[in-house]
């Protein structure tokens, strides 16, 4: 890691000059990576995934979904202000956050599944850092030219052309970054309204701040930090080492086939001495993280497989079999090096570990779907006054006071009936209304998609026992037969 030039520049910050005269570097400046354009199966796969993921990201907030007059008509909406999460026909309340937890658990196990089967496929294809870096690199090649042109431009003195190209590139990056941040906020408010508000300066300050921060992060991470994020900042590369085993697919340089490296010319001159690798360095040239895959598996490899594409096209040109660099498991690599038969790829994917991950993942998903299909949209939660626990009335009767929270989780106003069951001689009425002579239920109104906090008074004659258990129930009025109930205790002084 010694760079003479850098060492001289940062000498003051480095350790004291050791006895042997060489400088020991404490800090390393980033080595530029100028990946070369390539084409092939994996490059096209990456294109496809980039288009799909970016399309999902940018288009989703604009999908409309009619929920009637009392709820927003945006298909996917995280309504933080009103604490609701909408996803097509599903509406989630804060107390149902376990669905989100379930999704996160599924995402986690999904990552385990993918990693144990196909290694760092997430890193190589679907991670936003990878997708946006890839997009930015395409822009870079479009403005600056391919790898060699980029080298030349890097070393060129600052002239009008370099300034124009640099600012042109940064402008396009900023434009993309801005739209990235702009699309993000659309998930948190009605997209068309927010767009108008945003451009007329009416949106909330937090919207501008979010766009600003995300624009800056996208610009810096995608344009400048790039592989540094993967190598130094992201925990996933560390976790994935624990998730992978010798049966996970890895981008592997088949050294038993490639070594010893030598050019086509040399190989022709000395047949039998050299392997298939012609040492053309194309695998290094196309690598977006600037590593040499021939050094073996390493933390810098995000398994984007672009080196496979590059190597395959070279092998084709020189008339040697493809797959010198290929997806292969560590076990198979060992077997193949020994000349043994290797099983087909699908067999390495189907093994107890991946099947177990899949079953856990699928059962959580099915379980959530089942719960989701059976949940009620009317709910009662009653809290009894504890101070005082009961009130003695002039007539000698005992009154208990409650606060009932009636949750109407449907986007329509509802009339609901609150009733008492199993308390002899009980009379129930709503706070704010006069006490009726005798009544075991009353009807109250709950606004659409909201919680009504209803004060409830229950009176019953005195009795010997201190505590009588009974049930308070809420029920939709008319055709709306949804019910929910809570078991309560009626408290008395006792010993009457």
């Amino acid at each position: 890691m010694l760079q003479p030039g850098a060492a001289a520049k940062v000498g003051k910050m480095s350790s004291p000059k050791p006895a042997d005269g060489s400088y020991f570097q404490l800090y390393e400046s980033r080595k530029g990576v100028f990946p070369k354009a390539t084409d092939g199966f994996y490059r096209r796969l990456k294109w496809g995934i980039m288009i799909v993921t970016l399309a999902i990201y940018y288009i989703t907030p604009w999908i409309r979904w009619d929920r009637g007059p009392y709820a927003p008509d945006q298909a996917v909406l995280v309504d933080l202000a009103n604490r609701r999460f909408y996803m097509f026909s599903i509406e989630i309340w804060p107390h149902e956050f376990y669905y989100v937890v379930g999704l996160l658990v599924m995402a986690g196990i999904g990552l385990f599944l993918v990693t144990s089967a196909v290694g760092r496929a997430w890193c190589g294809y679907a991670c936003p850092q990878t997708v946006w870096t890839d997009l930015f690199q395409h822009v870079e090649r479009w403005i600056d030219g391919d790898r060699n042109a980029q080298f030349r431009l890097q070393d060129a003195p600052w002239g009008s052309q370099k300034i124009a190209k640099r600012f042109g590139k940064w402008a396009i990056w900023l434009f993309i970054a801005f739209w990235t941040g702009g699309a993000w906020i659309m998930y948190f408010a009605d997209a068309p309204t927010l767009t108008v508000d945003f451009w007329t300066g009416q949106a909330a300050p937090v919207a501008y701040a979010t766009v600003g921060i995300l624009t800056a992060i996208t610009f810096i991470f995608g344009g400048f930090m790039r592989e540094q994020v993967c190598i130094y900042m992201c925990p996933w590369p560390r976790i994935q080492t624990a998730m992978m085993d010798e049966k996970s697919l890895l981008v592997t340089y088949k050294d038993w086939r490639g070594e010893k490296r030598g050019s086509v010319k040399k190989a022709k001159a000395n047949p039998g001495e050299f392997g298939d690798c012609i040492d053309c360095n194309q695998c290094v040239a196309v690598c977006p993280t600037g590593i040499d895959i021939r050094e073996g598996p390493q933390i810098g490899c995000i398994t984007c497989a672009l080196c496979i594409d590059a190597c395959d096209s070279v092998m084709e040109q020189v008339g040697r079999p493809r797959g010198l660099i290929d997806y292969i498991t560590a076990d198979d690599a060992e077997a193949e090096a020994k000349g043994a038969e290797t099983p087909p790829t699908w067999k390495t994917l189907l093994r107890p570990r991946t099947i177990a991950y899949f079953l856990i993942w699928a059962s959580i998903g099915l379980g959530m779907l089942f719960v989701l299909g059976n949940r009620t949209r009317l709910d009662i939660a009653v809290q009894q006054d504890r101070n005082p626990v009961y009130v003695q009335l002039a007539s000698g009767e005992i009154r208990n006071n409650y606060t009932a929270k009636i949750r109407n989780m449907e986007s329509r106003p509802r009339e609901v009936e609150i009733s008492v069951f199993g308390l002899e001689g009980a009379t129930i009425w709503e706070g704010g209304t006069a006490r009726p002579a005798q009544q075991t239920k009353f009807v109250t109104h709950v606004a659409p998609d909201s919680v009504a906090k209803v004060r409830v008074f229950v009176v019953a004659p005195p009795a010997a026992q201190e505590s009588t258990s009974y049930v308070m129930q809420v029920r939709g009025v008319g055709d709306d037969a949804e019910t929910d109930s809570e078991e309560l205790f009626f408290k008395r002084p006792g010993n009457e």
């Binding site: 042997d20 020991f24 604490r83 009130v391 009154r399 706070g431 006069a434 009504a452 906090k453």
Partner: protein, 336 residues
């Protein structure tokens, strides 16, 4: 250093020289931008120390050039809140107290405001649950449906403003029960008969010869204030003796003490200590606790309305609503 150099074979990176079960720690250099973030945090720290209070001194701390303080923040927030509450307070005071129920939102705000004010000014005597701390304590339970001086909104507000038995104040509610025993008005045997009678009409004791003698004594000595039927008189704060609730308890001992020595409570007047809006909030809160009564004036109006409207129309509902008295703790719709 040179002689202690350990090099990791596969990577060629220097190691720090430690080894645990064959695992070595490579001494990979930190990225340079990482160093710049460290410098950035140092600069941030210096700027912060200049702008905000930072260095502790003996009795205080450096003030910072922005002059920020948490106390100032608090004052600002309180001021903003006061400003926000001002129109609500004004609306509360300017609305007829009996018509408050017409605006449920204002009502709810008043109840919540009253709840807070109650915790500051009233809990010392009435208890945190407004239940008079315990039965027989002498402090009225405000949750029940018995009122010494009236339980409609106007009566409660009057009591709050003028207090009870404030000697320095003309409008205060005032009454005093004679100390029948101590002042020699009645003999202890007569007092015992009266106790029997009072316990009899409140359902604590069966009819007895003593109670019958007490009945006669009651008509001559007590009926003037407590009424011939013992149901009390709110004009004088004379309690209803026939119901299940009593301020000091209904056992013989307690009643004998009250008849012998006389007992009464004092409540401070709050009219000159709290602003009218807070008084009104407290009124509505106390009224909402479950025993609030409909305003008599309003009931008359409702009755008249009822008579004006032909039977079978919606008039009955109106009357019911009016009789509900407005009060009571309503409900609120929240999104959470």
């Amino acid at each position: 250093m040179a002689e202690n150099k350990y090099i990791d074979e596969p990577t060629g990176t220097e190691t720090v020289g430690h080894e645990w079960d064959g695992i070595e720690e490579l001494d990979t250099p930190m990225p340079r931008w990482w160093l710049w973030t460290l410098y950035a945090t140092i600069i941030w720290g210096i700027v912060y120390v200049i702008l905000y209070p930072a260095w502790p001194l003996v009795n205080s701390a450096t003030e910072g050039v922005l002059g920020w303080s948490s106390r100032g923040d608090f004052a600002q927030e309180m001021e903003a809140r006061e400003k926000e509450l001002k129109p609500i307070r004004q609306a509360l005071v300017s609305t007829d107290i009996n018509k408050l129920s017409g605006s449920p939102e204002l009502m709810q705000t008043a109840i919540e405001g009253g709840r807070s004010a109650f915790k500051v000014h009233c809990v010392q005597c009435h208890g945190t649950g407004a239940d008079g701390i315990r039965p027989g304590s002498g402090y009225p339970n405000l949750n029940d449906d018995e009122w010494l001086w009236g339980g409609d909104l106007e009566a409660i507000e009057y009591t709050l403003i003028h207090g009870i038995r404030n000697p320095d104040h003309e409008d205060t509610r005032f009454s005093q029960m004679p100390a029948f025993g101590r002042d020699g008005i009645l003999t202890s045997a007569e007092i015992s008969d009266l106790v029997s009678y009072v316990r009899n009409i409140s359902g604590k004791e069966k009819q007895s010869a003593s109670a019958q003698r007490g009945a006669a004594l009651f008509q001559t000595n007590c009926a003037l204030c407590h009424g011939a039927d013992g149901k009390g008189d709110r004009m004088q704060g004379a309690p209803n003796l026939t119901d299940a609730i009593s301020l000091y308890g209904l056992d013989r001992e307690s009643l004998t003490y009250t008849l012998t020595n006389s007992r009464y409570g004092v409540m401070p007047r709050w009219g000159h200590r709290l602003d009218p809006a807070t008084i009104r909030m407290l009124t509505v809160y106390v009224h909402s606790l479950g025993g609030g009564e409909a305003s008599p004036a309003l009931e008359e109006v409702a009755q008249e309305t009822l008579e004006d409207i032909p039977a079978g129309s919606d008039g009955a509902d109106t009357a019911d609503d009016a009789a509900a008295g407005g009060g009571g703790e309503g409900r609120e719709d929240v999104q959470s």
